[in-house]
Amino acid sequence: MIAVTVSADPIDPSDALARFCRAAEDVGAIVHFLGVVRGRSGDVQLREIRLEHYPGMCERLLEERARAIAARFDLARVAVRHRIGRIRPGETIVWVATAGTHRRQAFLGAEALMDYLKTEAPFWKKEVAVDGRSWWVAARASDEAARRRWEQMARTGMEPTAEDSVKNTG
């Protein structure tokens, strides 16, 4: 079960998690992650960020990635919510959740989904300082490297299997 939402509405993480848990039956592990807007960029205090996206492609790509990650890590449910528009420091910009039989798969799935989201989902972030100056945020090479790591792992089969998780539990 995959759920993708891209919206200007604020994200209430506890409400999102509660709904996700209610819907995720017969799972042993649930992981969720919040991305939060920082109040500073270097030495500059920020008033807000503005999030632009490519409607259509964005939702479609997130859904495809979430589906692929659910299959790859044997997850029963994957959910992602992303905000667009004006977002203030301290507010949640992105929320992802994964549910599966074992914690290792749930952790890996959440991390992989975030790495794909950051490097592939067509969102663009503009920072606005308290004095009104604004600029587009540059993409980071470290995010790209993180995504490539998942592809490398998939090619070489170097990722934990369900059996590993069983062995590592406890």
């Binding site: 999030l51 632009e52 490519y54 492609m57 950051k118 592939e120 663009w124 587009w136 945020v137």
Partner: protein, 94 residues
């Protein structure tokens, strides 16, 4: 039936721009003439660089991303009239 489709879209292409690229061009989208038989992404970049000659470097930049019908494309991807094409800078969500 097929003729109806091609008649509507023949020779035109809708190109969308996002984020910093949209701001630099002062355009969210535009329509360009396009060969009925189609052409590659590389052709489109060259075409747009010539059309916006004062901002040509925006279209030749290595970092530029291109999606055809909402999927990432490479230089060899074929674009046909009527396709939805989008050009944008590297993404920065999350």
């Amino acid at each position: 039936m097929e003729d109806d489709m091609s008649e509507r879209s023949e020779g035109r292409l809708r190109v969308l721009y996002f984020a910093a690229l949209r701001e630099r061009l002062g355009l969210a989208e535009e329509e360009v003439d396009w060969p009925p038989a189609g052409g590659t992404v590389a052709c489109l970049r060259a075409h747009l660089a010539a059309r916006h000659d004062d901002l040509a470097s925006l279209f030749t930049a290595d970092a530029l991303k291109i999606a055809v019908n909402q999927r990432y494309a490479d230089a060899k991807t074929l674009i046909r009239p009527g396709d939805e094409v989008a050009l944008f800078p590297p993404v920065t969500g999350g």
